[in-house]
C-alpha cells in the first residue's frame, strides 16, 4: 500500500518527506524502525493529524507525520 510520510522538527535529520510503498498492515512502530530513527527517541505518530498508537496498522493513503517531543524549556 502507498502512504505519505512526513518528518517534523528534529526528525527531519533522519528522512525527507516522501511517498512510500509499504507492506499492508504496517504499523507506525515498524515504519519508525524501517526509517532508521534511533530507538532512544520516543516517537509519536500523527496519522492524518491525530495521534495513533504505535502498534495500530496503517492504511492505504494515510499521511503519517512522525514527531518526537524531545524539547527545550
Amino acid at each position: 500500500m502507498r502512504i505519505t510520510v512526513k518528518p517534523a522538527g528534529i526528525i527531519k535529520r533522519f528522512f525527507a518527506e516522501q511517498e512510500m510503498d509499504v507492506a499492508p498492515g504496517l504499523t507506525s512502530r515498524a515504519l519508525i524502525v524501517q526509517l532508521q530513527i534511533p530507538a532512544e527517541l520516543k516517537m509519536i505518530s500523527l496519522v492524518n493529524g491525530k495521534t495513533r498508537r504505535l502498534d495500530d496498522p496503517l492504511e492505504e493513503g494515510d499521511e503519517v507525520r512522525l514527531v518526537t517531543l524531545l524539547t527545550g524549556g
Binding site: 522538527g9 520516543k42 500523527l46 491525530k50 498508537r53 507525520r65 514527531v67 524531545l70 527545550g72 524549556g73
Partner: protein, 622 residues
Amino acid sequence: MNGNTGIIIDVNLSEGFIDRLAPPEEWYLRYVGGSGLAAKFFWERGDFDADPLAPEAMLLFMNGPFAGLKLSGTSRSSVAGRSPLTGHWGDSSCGGYFAPELRYAGYDGIVITGRADKPSLILIEDDRISIEDASDFWGRGIEEVNRSLKERYGKNHRTLVIGPAGENLVKYAAILNEGHHAFGRAGFGAVMGSKNLKAIVVRATRKEMSLADPDRFAELRGDLNLRIKEALASSVMRENGTAANLEGGAFAGDVPIRNFTSNSWEEMGEALAGSTLTEKYLTRRWQCAYCTIRCKRVVEVPDGPFAIPEGPGPEYETIVSFGALIGSMDLAAACKAGRVCNDFGLDTISAGGSIAWAMEAFERGDLTSKDTGGVELRWGDMETVVETVLRALAFRKGKLGELLAEGSVAAARKIGKDSLAYTCQSKGLEAPMHDPRGGGHGLALTYAMSPRGACHVADPMLFIEMGACYYPEIGLEYELEPKTDEYKPESAVISVALGAIENSACFCQFADREVTIPDWVELFNTVAGYDWDADEMMRSGRRVFHLKRLINYRFGLTAADDALTPRMLEPARDGEPEGVEINFSGMKARFYALMGMDPEKGIALPETLEQHGMTEESSRSW
C-alpha cells in the same frame, strides 16, 4: 566538609552587617543544597509575616554540592524566598558562571535581609566581602551595568545584576548573570530592587575543593562529560538550541498559541524553529561554565524593524512567549523582545504570559484602550510589544505598565469580568510554554503540584512523558502515552522527588538526562560523602518537596491552590488534541494518596512527615 564549603554569607543591608554562617552539616545531608537547602534556611530563619518586598524579607542564593566541579550541567544555582509575584514560596534556577565562582571563593550561598539606604552592590573577592555604593548604576540597563562592573572590577569578576524592572519592583523582574543567563521566574529581581541591591559581584583567585573520593569522582566525571556531550539530545541542542524541536512540538499541540486558545498553526513551527534561528541569526554558540552541550545562542539580527547587534539569543521559552503565545511567528521580533527583556530584567515567560492574557482581554473587550492609556493590544503586533509594552512594564509607565507589572493574576483581579478564567497559571505563576493538552497530561498534574506554581522544570515530568527517562532502580519504568492519564500520578510521585534532587543539586535537566540513578548516588557519595543509596536519595527529594509545601501551607495555601485555570483545562479547540479533556481531578486525588498527603490541606500527613524524619516540621504544621 566535603563537596560543599559549609559556609554561607549572611548580609543585612540595613545594618551593613556581614557575617559567615556554618549551618549544621545535617541540613546539607537532609536538604542537599540549592532550592532545598534554601527552603530549610527559610523554614528555620525566614519571616513568614514579612511582605516579600519588605526589608525583613529573606533573599537566598544557594549553590548545590557539585558547583565548580567541571561537570557538564552543574554550574547552576538557585535563588529563593517568598515570591513577590505569587506571595508564597518561590525559587528560580540559573546557569552561567556565578555558582562556580562563588564556590571557589569559599561559599555555598548568600542570605540577604534588610534594605540598603542607597543603591548598593555586594562585592565578594575570596575572603573579602563588602557592601559598595552602586548609585551610579541605578536606573541603567543590565547590559551596560554588566559591562561597567567588569571594567571596574575585572573581566573575570562574575556578576548578578537587576535592571529597571527590578528597581521598579515589577513582580516578575529577573536577575541576570553575565547579562545572558537568567534567574527568571518568581520575581526575585524585584526583591533585590526592594533591598536597593543592584548587583552582586564575585571573584575567586583559588580553586581548592575538598571531595570525599576525588579519584573516583574524576573518573565518573570523565565518563559523564563524554556521555553528556555525545548524547543525541545534546547534539540536537548544540546544533539548534533549546528550540531545536519546536516544530515537532507544534505538530503535537505542545506549543501554546494565542494565550492557550489554539494548538494548531502549521506555518509557525518552522518559522520559529531553532534551525531557522541558526540559519538566519546565529553568530556563535555559547555555554554555561564547563558544559559540553553548548545549547546557548548568540545572535544578530542585521536589519529590519527588529535589528539587534550581536548578543545573547533567545531560548525556547522566550521564542514561544514572544512568538506563538502572543500570535506572532516573527523570529526576529522574538530575538529583539528577548534582548529587551534581558536588558530591562524581565522574566520572559511571565511577561509574555501577561501580555498574552491582556491581548485576549482586549480582543474580548474586557480591557479597553481606556484601561491601557490608549495602547491597542492586538495578536502578533510585535512592534507595539517591543517598542511600547515592554518599556511600559519595566518602568511601570502609564495605566498599562501599572496593570501588567503586577502579573496576569493581579491584573485579572483588577479588571474582573471573569478574566481570571483565561489567565494561564497555577498559584499565580504564569505557565511555561508547554501546553499539557498537547504535550502530556502528566504535566498538568505537576504544574499544579509544583510548590512555586506552574513550572516545567520543578521536576522532570516533561522529559518522563517524552520518554527520556528510564530509572528502573526507583520504579520508573513505565512506557507512557503522553496524552493520557495512565500511570501519570505514579510517575509524578517519582518525578517530584527526583526534581527536588535536581533542583537542590543544581543540575541542569538537559545534562542530567544522561545521569543514571546509580550515577546520581555515586556523585553524592564521591563528592559529599553522604553514603546514600537510591532509596535514601529519593527520601531526601521527597523531604525537600514536602518542606516547600509546608512553607506554602504557612503562607495560607491548601490543596485548593493545586489547580490549573479553566482555560488550561478546557478541551483543546483545534489541532491534534482537539476535544481532549484532561482527567485532572482524578490524577490529583491519586497523587495525594500515593504521596501520603492530606487532600484538603495539601501537605504531607503527620505519618508521612515522620517517615521522612520531619518530626519537628510536623509539630509546627499539625
